[in-house]
């Protein structure tokens, strides 16, 4: 399993995402925003950070990077794509995931561990979890308030596309319906605000609750695994 991690100008957690993929048992492959192909990887991660300084709007400039055409094609083909934090914002801006991320309702950058439940365990990024949680994972973002119009939210719920949720009463940023992460219709594209790559090593402050995400991704999967329920 080769997991590609894209470095955009201003990506910060690319290094951590590569390390997490490796720790999960995959081979980490660095990809560059200016490239036009994905070097034949089996999965793609858009890491956290501040691509283009988050100037203008989070993810707004990065979604136009040359490599994004390849990401779109890969996603359309059913390839697993994960967006973490800034990567999630990029995927929303690119229209690969529904909704948008607004400024945190508290208007401050929030950096702390949160608990999330894994609401759907049949995506390439959640099949490694053996129960819904709650699982602990660091969150660090200023614009993590998930927003979509009510009809979209209803559809997401109806189609089981809310993949991660903050615990009721512990919503750190005002996200609609406590949503921490969502998937596309096919389930192969997943985005979330918390940082699973910082939760893969029990010796570190972030713990290892999310090692399961990377281990699950790296595990051998049937060629045409069905992603829908």
């Amino acid at each position: 399993m080769r997991v590609g991690v894209i470095t955009f100008p201003g990506s910060l957690d690319d290094h951590d995402a590569l390390a997490a993929a490796t720790r999960g048992g995959a081979e980490g492959v660095g990809l560059w925003h200016g490239d036009t192909d994905l070097s034949g990887v089996d999965a793609v991660v858009l890491p956290g950070g501040f691509s283009y300084g988050d100037y203008l709007r989070t993810g707004a400039i990065a979604q136009h990077a040359p490599i994004m055409a390849a990401v779109r094609a890969f996603a359309a083909d059913g390839g697993p794509v994960l967006g973490i934090c800034n990567g999630f914002q990029i995927l929303c801006e690119a229209g690969l995931l529904p909704g948008a991320l607004l400024r945190n309702s508290g208007l401050r950058f929030v950096s702390r561990p949160v608990f999330v439940t894994v609401e759907r365990r049949d995506t390439p990024f959640t099949r490694g979890f053996d129960h819904p949680g709650p699982w602990s994972v660091p969150l660090k973002s200023g614009e993590g308030c998930y927003h979509a119009d009510p009809a979209t939210l209803d559809r997401l719920e109806a189609e089981d596309r809310v993949v991660f949720r903050y615990l009721p009463g512990d919503n750190p940023n005002g996200s609609a319906r406590n949503i921490a992460g969502v998937s596309n219709e096919a389930g192969n594209v997943v985005g979330l605000m918390p940082h699973p790559e910082h939760a893969v090593d029990d010796d570190l402050a972030g713990g290892d609750d999310f090692l399961a995400m990377f281990a699950g991704l790296a595990s051998d999967v049937p060629e045409h695994e069905s992603l829908s329920r």
Partner: protein, 783 residues
Amino acid sequence: MTQTPVTTFPADETLTDERARELGHELGLRRDEYDQVVEALGRVPTVSELGMYSVMWSEHCSYKSSKVHLRRLEATSPRILAGPGENAGVVDVGDGLAVAFKVESHNHPSFVEPYQGAATGVGGILRDIFTMGARPIAVMDSLRFGDPTVDGLGPRSRAFQRAIVDGVVRGVGGYGNCVGVPNIGGETVFDDRYATNPLVNVLAIGVMPVERLQLATAEQVGDVAILLGSSTGRDGIGGASVLASQEFDEGLEDKRPNVQVGDPFREKSLIECCLELYDRDLLAGIQDMGAAGIACSTAELASAASMGMDVDLDAVHLREPSMASWEILCSESQERMLALAHPDGVDEVLAVAARWDVPASVIGEVVAGDRLRLHRRGELVADLPARSLADEGPTYDRPRERPAWQDGYGIVVAEDLPIPGLADDGDLAGFVAKFLASPSLAAADWVHGQYDSWVRGGTVLGPGQGDAGVVRLPGSARGIACALDGNGRWCELDPAEGTRRVVAEAFRNVACVGATPIASTNCLNFGNPERPEIMWQLATSIEALGEATRTLGIPVTGGNVSLYNESRVGGSDDPRDTHIWPTPVIGVLGVIDDAAMAVGQAFVQEGDVVFLLGDETRPGLAGSALQAYLDLPLGGRLAPVDLDLEARLAVVLGEAARAGLLHSAHDISDGGLVAALADSAVLGDIGVQIVPTERKDPAQLLFSESPSRVLVTTPSDSVRELARLCADAEVPLADVGTVGGTTIDVQGLLTLSLEDVRDAHLRGVPTAVDPSLVTTATGEVVT
């Protein structure tokens, strides 16, 4: 010496002696300093030269008041690869790795524009680190603000103070988060003495393979100077803007703000670009551009190599083409570096820069001799000995005098305080809860909850988790620990003993996590050095700093001096009221062989035994948090710290941590035992029962800040082993209680519910500083 302007300079650069002297004065050059300039040049300076000398010979750049004293800090250690005088200290930490670290202030800019002032403070210290060849892996911030619970007028109003706190914290986070360096700790102190002069000190740490160390001494004639990074603009030249009166354009002054705007995104690219250049061995030297920008970096590179440099200012990428030469030279635009490369490598350097989208231009060349020559529009605008600018500035041994007010402190009765609830048999628990909610003692989660502490995947103990921050080094099991500490009240009371205590505390904090302290850095925040009392404080503090760091084996590897910090208390003009508390802030670096063994502050397990290691509790209310909280006059005597005991204590803590005996460790400092218990209990979400073994005055028992005391917890089956370590090292230990329950209990004195303490502890800071109480410590909306 000649009085006639040299005709080879363009007319708009030429000054008469009289005019130059006048302008020099306005720029802060003393009469004799101006004469020294004329002597170095053998003629009257040009406008550009005058600008350069005035900035380079300022207190900020030349350390002219502190240099003679800083020499006393000199120390050697085989571990030190780069010491004071370099951009940052560098120490060998083993495994072929070296660590660069340094602390720097950005006090004044943070008062003028809190967000940008603090943000560019982070940016500046990071550049010092990666200039040395290191990848920045952590930052820490030490913040001192006015008391936001006191509502005064103007700058002392609550709204104003809150705006400063808000801006500074957002600025530290905004820059650090975006550039991708984790924050691993710091301190946050509120005291009216800093109301109109906040202290914003930022420490940065970087790591590199030993052989990547960049020392700017390798350059040769013909090496090419390349300016990397942002364009040069008119920001940050407020001080030099009197030179604009040379020009016709009126009202230009206010167009030259001395505030700089940071661009962390650009800095991130610049870091990656420079690291790639080092790894590909393309550079002969490099220098960051801080104060005095191009003037400073060219002079320093040339001077360090004992060579000259020819620079073409027309090649500098400018934000505004109309900039005058002196503006280009003195601009403090951020996110810029000056690199030297062999001519054959220039194309490759430019290609690497292009890949990282970092603007780069070739602006000069290293030449034989010692002259720094700067050209603009084809003409020479400055021609001076590089060394005279960088290394031969004036130094002063300014008059010192022990302030008369020191005598007053000695006669204050400090150790016998009327503690509400204790003295009158009333609600002591209620008093303690309020005390713990005072913003300087309360948890700083509201602050560091806005800082990314995880990025780059090495953080073992982040802010608020241990007495020091701990980061695992890339590709290694080894970690480094760092603590940053200051205490202005102690140092005002007694600059020598106060400084020793602060050094001891930072040292002890590193030891508490299980690391071995190996080196130190410092930022000396003091008042106006032209006042003999302040000079006495500074000199006394530096002497104690040198002595304490040598005794503890943590040589000073570098630091920063910030003078002219003044804060008028209650509008008073009395000299004793106008200085900030003398505030040396000390950073201590330690190494821990197995980072995973680092010990945190949190109580871990029901039934663990609580020990007090180190000294017994001594009278320690002089200068204490309690004294401040009760609004009593500062005073009393500081109990002396026993540095030998500190050293032995550190050995025990290190051995105990390596042997896995400790579940938690936390030193007793600000706020005394109650504050330490509250920190550990709240963090671990578990109570504690203390049974005092010492027969002491209850006030001392609960609130004394006497040094060399650490609370540790250990599982009961490790007790014997710990006792043996202590006996071997001759470190006293006392069994003082047990972890468990839902209260913090000090037998016979105090029972606090953990719930109440948590509430007080977490709400203290946001209640005091959050401009809109709609959010809690972590950003949730409370509505």
